[in-house]
């Protein structure tokens, strides 16, 4: 373990760190989430905290924010030791956090979201919305953006919601700002814009902790980088003295092959053809507005796009969960437009859902029941109206072995498995049998590197075995890594299709953000998204 000295090379400093965490240890039953972690952040510094999912970054920040109590260690602000009892205490001490999943309330206005918890009052009872309005507009201008405080947060784009989160912190006069994976849901362009805002904040003397597992981002924005792995600090670097390979090795602990070799694809006949498809979302507005696309057997078509541009509705229409209002879906030669989930499944469509807890698994039920979730009604798992539990258990044992699902038995509830193993269970069910079209919706979100690699390899094997694969992911990197062709989806339409091997990342990013037209003026983006 590397001890961090206040005078790390490169940036000599005489000021006390704005924040210092010493020897923080946090244990949960069966796991040490933080093991004697040291971290210091200087005034005006952007300090990146780099680590895999589950390395202990979030726990450390929860300790800082008073959401978790450390078992050992101390926290110093401006050189003085403090006890942080909870979020309000942290806020009072000038620490603010922008969470990975935004802590914004969609039905409330921007102003109400910013006010909440630290309300500007007129008298003891009522809010002073006029004053708050004035202060928010002023604060936004200071950091280079115009925002309408009366607009409902739910109608803003993700990039603007991010700004609201930052405004929320600034409104509370934050000195130390923690951003937890702030770019996970942003396009490359939005990421650049946020980086500009962060740089400006740091120049004004704010200290920023930037949590990420994306190497290039950390290299682009940070003044210093601290890497943690399995709850321990494994190294500290300055961006000028390191590169992606070095950081990746530190982060993962072994030399990793960052990209699974997708190999050559051999596309065959068109397996899925979508023509002029229109689908409405839950609120009745058209989310898919005339999509045309083709996926051939033996190829992976990746759909890139910022979340909420109609991908969910498109996928739900393809698996039969949503009835299209217009257009045609053809599978091979058969028209399957508007068929039920069961009919789609019977036609050879398999689906790995983005939200496995919602669609993929019944967590309270045993693994065995989950393995036959879509085929429980067919022989050999059912004879007439009766279930054949022996057959169900036999196939479950088989899948557990084949997909290396770590479990004591096929009879434990699926919800007791780790996230990676739960996803393997879904993959085991959906990849098995006669699959013509495989739809992967964010198949690796929130998983550890090992599980991601496993699922990527399986997907490529399935492609090579002749399945047509439609991959939807908000992680542009994942789309770029796996796809033979990439379609960019923007506001319910496919705006461009590129070859997966020659696609240019920044071009795709621009297409995701703007749909390929001239860039929308900044001020308008907030109100139109």
């Amino acid at each position: 373990m590397t001890a961090v000295t206040p005078s790390a090379p490169g940036t000599p400093s005489v000021v006390a760190p704005a924040l210092e965490m010493r020897g923080i240890t946090k244990r949960y039953p069966g796991v040490v989430a933080n093991d004697h972690i040291d971290l210091d952040v200087r005034p005006g510094e952007i300090h990146a905290l780099l680590g895999e999912n589950g390395a202990g970054k979030t726990t450390l920040m929860n300790v800082l924010y008073g959401l978790a109590r450390p078992d050992e260690g101390s926290i110093l602000l401006d050189g003085k030791e403090v006890q942080i009892s909870g979020p309000s205490d942290a806020i009072a001490r000038g620490i603010n956090m922008v969470h990975q999943h935004f802590m914004l309330i969609p039905v409330l206005s921007v102003a109400d979201n910013i006010l909440l918890g630290d309300e500007t009052m007129r008298g003891p009872i009522f809010l002073d919305r006029a004053e708050a309005h004035r202060r928010i507009v002023e604060l936004g201008r200071r950091f280079g953006f115009e925002i309408d405080p009366d607009i409902r947060v739910g109608s803003l784009s993700v990039g603007w919601q991010q700004r609201v989160e930052i405004l929320k912190a600034l409104y509370r006069k934050a000195r130390i700002l923690v951003l937890d994976e702030p770019t996970a849901v942003l396009t490359p362009q939005e990421t650049e814009e946020i980086f500009a805002v962060l740089r400006r904040l740091a120049d004004e003397g704010h200290s920023i902790v930037f949590i990420s597992h994306k190497l290039y981002e950390v290299l682009a924005i940070a003044d210093r980088i601290t890497v943690i792995r399995r709850g321990r600090v494994v190294g500290q670097r300055l961006p000028a003295e390191t590169d992606e390979d070095d950081l990746a090795e530190l982060m993962v602990g072994r030399e990793v092959q960052l990209i699974v070799d997708r190999g050559e694809s051999h596309p065959g006949a068109v397996a899925l053809r979508v023509e002029g498809l229109r689908v409405k979302d839950d609120r009745g507005s058209e989310a898919v507005r005339g999509v045309d696309l083709e996926v051939r057997s033996g190829e992976i078509l990746g759909i890139a796009g910022v979340a909420g541009n109609g991908q969910d509705e498109l996928v739900e229409a393809l698996i039969g969960l949503r009835h299209p209002v217009a257009g045609r879906v053809t599978l091979g030669e058969a028209d399957v437009t508007g068929h039920s989930p069961r009919a789609m499944h019977g036609a050879g469509v398999a689906y790995v859902p983005a939200d496995r807890h919602r669609f993929g698994l019944v967590s309270a039920f045993p693994i065995a029941d989950n393995v036959v979730l879509t085929s429980y009604h067919q022989p050999p798992y059912a004879r007439g109206i009766l279930r054949d539990e022996a057959a169900v258990e036999a196939v479950a044992e088989e899948r557990i072995k084949e997909y290396d699902i770590r479990t004591p038995s096929a009879n434990v509830p699926a919800g007791t498995l780790s996230g990676g193993n739960q996803q393997k269970l879904v993959v085991a069910r959906e990849f098995s049998g006669d699959v013509r079209l495989l739809i992967l919706d964010q198949p690796t979100r929130g998983l550890d590197v090992g599980s991601i690699e496993f699922i990527h390899r399986r997907a490529i094997a399935k492609r090579d075995a002749g399945a047509a694969i439609l991959l939807v992911s908000a992680e542009l990197d994942e789309v770029l890594e796996l796809s033979d062709r990439i379609a960019v989806m923007y506001r319910g339409r496919i705006v461009a299709v590129r070859d997966g091997r020659t696609a240019d990342k920044s071009e795709i990013g621009l297409l995701m953000a703007t749909g390929g037209r001239e860039r929308v003026p900044e001020a308008a983006a907030g109100s139109t998204a």
């Binding site: 839950d282 859902p353 019944v362 979730l373 429980y376």
Partner: protein, 385 residues
């Protein structure tokens, strides 16, 4: 919650441990409720101004037990009181499995009774093997119809069954009164009453009132158990209850399953009503009413929605209801003490976390059936599109 049956033959120790983990909380709740009941009995002596008797709770409980099991006829009577509770408990338990909360047992019971009486009276002179099945069938159908309505309302509009079934209970009370004082009234007395069901009456198999309904209730237990654990339809019911979205993706039709389950729940409660009018009262007055609907909720909760558990939970409350009149006579404690005991048991089950913590119980299962989707569907988002 583990749904799959464990295979192989478990050891005796394992069996005992499993039994304890399942039974501990219900048993502890029952014992604690009796203690609370004793405190209430002491308290009620203050209200009535009786001389303070230290042994009154024991006296009351002894009378309660004697009333329930003190003689052959008492046991048979307890069984007869238990039978509709078993059917009602199955009704609530089955609905729980699909994530539905059937508070409408009362209305479904009343409709079942009404249907059975109406058909029973019409066929009072037909041979029993014709009259009885027809009357029972009419009761089940009427109950199922009264269950179908909230099921369909929930599936189609998202109106939560907790509100609609309560409304239907009140409507059922009105409907019974209207029918009995209207078309079904015999007209022989100023207080409206229906004719006797004659040959449609259930045969008495045992003692004074050990009627066929007891056998029907036990048969229903087997049927519900079989449906839930052996059939694909039962699998669908359980999956829809545990995760309606996953059910939809898996090609099940949650709306259909909800309507079907609620209709079956109504059928069971309707059967309960039919057995009571055909086996016990043999006619109906305009003010005919029942506490079976709400007792059934207690039965299902105590039994954790397990069909076999329902038998024992129903027996407990059936014994209380059966023995309460003797308690009132001998100890002067109103029969409503049973309601208080029942409510206390439920409160203790709901507060299971606290009890487990206070008594340092480990490896003991929670007090309530797994019912997580009931509140989740409260806002009407039962099945998107």
């Amino acid at each position: 919650m583990s749904e799959g049956g464990a295979r192989g033959i478990p050891s005796m120790g394992r069996l005992l441990r499993d039994a304890w983990s399942v039974l501990a909380l219900p048993l502890i709740s029952i014992v604690l409720a009796l203690v609370v009941g004793a405190a209430i009995i002491y308290g009620s002596q203050l209200i009535t101004g009786q001389p303070f008797t230290i042994g009154l709770p024991l006296e009351a409980y002894a009378a309660l037990t004697q009333g329930a099991f003190g003689s052959f006829n008492a046991v048979v009577n307890t069984a007869a009181v238990t039978a509709p509770l078993i059917l009602g408990g199955l009704s609530v338990a089955l609905a729980f499995k699909a994530g539905l909360f059937n508070i409408g047992g009362q209305g479904q019971f009343l409709l079942g009774a009404l249907g059975a009486v109406a058909v029973g009276v019409s066929f009072k002179s037909a041979p029993p093997f014709v009259a009885i099945p027809l009357a029972l069938g009419a009761g089940m159908l009427a109950g199922a119809a009264w269950g179908f309505i909230p099921g369909a309302l929930k599936a189609m509009s998202g109106a939560h069954e907790v509100v609609t079934t309560i409304m239907l209970n009140y409507i059922a009370i009105g409907l019974v009164a209207a029918m009995v004082s209207g078309p079904l009234d015999l007209g022989t007395s100023p207080n409206p009453i229906t004719d006797d069901v004659g040959n449609a009456a259930l045969p008495v198999l045992l003692g004074r009132n050990g009627h066929l309904g007891i056998v029907l209730a036990l048969a229903a237990v087997t049927a519900v158990w079989w449906l839930l654990s052996r059939t694909t339809r039962g699998f669908e019911i359980r999956i829809v209850g545990a995760n309606p979205d996953a059910a939809r993706y898996a090609g099940m039709r949650p709306r259909f399953v909800l309507i079907l389950t609620m209709s079956l729940a109504g059928l069971l409660a309707g059967l309960a009503g039919a057995t009571v009018v055909l086996g016990v009262t043999r006619n109906m007055t305009a003010s005919f009413n029942t506490s079976v609907g709400f007792d059934s909720i207690a039965v299902a909760l105590l039994a954790r929605s397990n069909p076999v558990g329902v038998v024992f939970a129903a027996l407990l409350f059936g014994a209380m209801r059966g023995g309460a009149p003797l308690m009132q006579i001998k100890a002067g404690i109103p029969v409503e003490l049973v309601d208080v005991l029942q409510a206390t048991i439920l409160l203790l089950l709901a507060a299971d976390r606290i009890i487990r913590h206070a008594l340092r119980l480990r490896g003991v299962r929670g007090g309530m059936a797994s019912t997580e989707t009931i509140t989740r569907t409260y806002g009407g988002d039962v099945t998107a599109n």
